[in-house]
Amino acid sequence: MERTLFLSGNEALAHGAVRAGARFACGYPGTPSTEIVETAACLDGVIAEWCINEKVAMETAVGASLAGVRTVVAMKHVGLNVAADPFMTLSLTGVNAGLVVVSADDPGMHSSQNEQDNRNYARFAKVPMLEPSDGQEAYDFMAEAFALSEEFDTPVLLRTTTRLSHGRGQVTPRVTVDVEPREYARDISKYVMVPQYARVRNRLVLERLRALRERAECSPLNVLEAGTADFGIIASGVAYDYAREAFPKAWFLKLGMSHPLPYGKVARLYQQVSRVAVVEELDPFIEDQVRALGLPVIGKEALPADGELDQELVFRALEPFVSRRPPRRRRPTPPPVLRPAPPAPPAAQLPVRPPVLCPGCSHRSVFTALRKHRLAPMGDIGCYTLGALPPLLAMDSCLCMGAAIGMMAGFNKALGRKAAAAVIGDSTFFHSGITPLVDARYNEAAGLVLILDNRTTAMTGHQGHPGTGRRPDGSAGPAVDLQKLCEGIGVRCLTVDATDFPALDAAVKGEVHAPGLGVIVALAPCVLTYRPAPGRVDVDAERCNLCGLCLAIGCPAIASGDGAITITESCTACGLCVDVCRRGALTAVGVET
């Protein structure tokens, strides 16, 4: 037995995958999935790549699987939407070497634009779904996932959630699986999905689903755990842990493989107890299927269908059912009237602390320049989405990765004038901003595209991307030149130093009044990636009239109180407040070190 490790769920997934023979790991960074590829990149014998987006990651993974090496591809839940096109048909072609797709869902939306439950993708694509509930299972389930993938010739979807991915616990490494690379054999009717071949493969997928359901009946991942109470709980993922802590005496059907649902095991639970509840986060995924079997079940009428659960919430919601006497047979009883969960005690009136753009962040300059003009800024996903919050309020939309440019083009086309701009980060532009820019050029849309090039994927923790050339193991590769790329599309493009506010301001003003389509690359490295030269900003109290222009840039280093503006220690002397002050009351000063 090896030494017990203390790992996050994501680290456990990466270690587990590599110990199960994975030799290729790829993805696109997205909270809460990012550390899976980052961890794999540090392990021996693995090729790890950040791909330009999740669709490309999925396709790259399929290529590696076909070539014969076990492969894991990881993305956040919304990333699977981007990769859904290859994923759905991958179900038909199947794999060569095992292929595990990790979807990191984010119940509670700690860092996401929606809360979709990606177990639905398993049903949609007719592939098996594994749901580990803690770090040890995250580690152990990988071996099972690869084995299932190869035995049933299918991609396997593995769902983690924020609490598992970013939770930590003890993990005991177990036996390493030794797998030889598989030979690639040309098989046109399996891998070329033209209609006549796809129809055949589709039949095989339906047969595979039946076989997988039989496997789910005997899989060691689906365990019927005996209890002492006349009450049973079906649960998967971290919801199992919450339920287990809330009801230690209940019977449990723990579903490590939640799709396809093992009907026989469900029936066996019902033989043991008179009342059954399903405890699952987000959609009534298991619950709906249990209901379809004609079985009475307590589910979303008692438990929320949004946000995260926890043991106290589960206890409060289900305790009324447990403490009731068993229902009499034959006469169906209406569901009991539930006491709603007691409202949380009134929160004290405390100032909220939302996340903010860092002191010295160059995004603030872009928003400050853009705000002067009557353009609706169509936003995108990254740190700069924080520009939508007070006091900047400089973003009108944020839909999904890469949406800004297409939305701008449609908005301006519909109104017949340059009424909207697009604000998009460098990594997001590479992810899915290039094709809408090509489209805007082709359809002759007018608009101003601001690419906020901070030379990194900042929000997820500073991963590299094609514009930087930096790989997940830290090594350097070739970088793609943003300006040349845009010019190659045939779009006017200007690169401006985003720390030079007057130059940036002039460039934005010029583009706002220029005809047609233009791109400004606002270039300045993320302040968290280097140490800014020490500096401070002095306030001339005589000149300051407390007009508040400097406060309106939303810098956490500028404070107002007791009739004065003060600059706090977190100032990087970026000088934006100096530039916006109309009375010359602020002066940036270099500090000798």
Partner: protein, 197 residues
């Protein structure tokens, strides 16, 4: 629930909440307990409120809890915010001199709350204020506020000195271990004096 201790760490993104949580988790593991910890990254980081939870006991199922036996707050306002989650008889260890003003307060739209002790009156919560900034400075790094507070909190958590030492060594990078060991010891001493006085 069920003989499990829950410790929540509250602070502002960038204050080293995750490191302090890692030290605590490694310490509990070194003491032979089952441990689960939980944190939230991503959007929560850029200067927003950050919370991390460490739970330990003979067997721990859930990595989170809406309630805590002990809260360690590296910023006073975040201490206020966490007060309501502390169980009766629980303890709030907080950086009494660390005030990081949120945007609304910086712009003069809101007020930073006043006296935490008055705010806690009527609640069965023990307050353990620590001048963690001063202690961190004494230890040799302004960034060691987190570990100084952990040292103070060690007086209400029943781990041996050896377990804490092992926890620090396992979680803190070697380069900054000595500074953090000093900060931990200073925090522990300060809390013992606070209790004695």
């Amino acid at each position: 629930m069920n003989g499990i201790t829950t410790v929540a760490l509250a602070g502002v993104g960038g204050q080293g909440i995750l490191l302090a949580a890692a030290v605590l988790a490694e310490t509990a593991a070194a003491a032979g307990l089952d441990v689960k910890a939980s944190e939230v990254k991503g959007m929560a980081q850029r200067g927003g409120s950050v919370r991390s939870t460490v739970r330990f006991g003979a067997q721990v199922w859930s990595p989170v809890s809406p309630h805590a036996d002990v809260v360690i707050a590296t910023e006073e306002l975040e201490g206020y915010r966490a007060l309501e989650t502390i169980v009766p008889g629980g303890t709030l260890v907080f950086a009494a001199t660390t005030h990081i003003l949120p945007g609304g307060v910086l712009r003069g739209e809101e007020e930073y709350p006043g006296d935490l002790a008055a705010f806690a009156a009527g609640r069965e919560v023990r307050l353990l204020p620590v001048d963690a900034e001063l202690l961190a400075h004494e230890a040799g790094s302004a960034r060691a506020v987190n570990i100084a507070l952990l040292g103070a909190a060690s007086t209400v958590l029943s781990f041996s000195v050896e377990a804490w030492r092992a926890g620090l060594a396992a979680a803190v990078p070697a380069k900054i271990l000595a500074v953090n060991e000093r900060a931990f010891a200073l925090g522990r001493d300060a809390a013992q004096q606070e209790v004695a006085s």
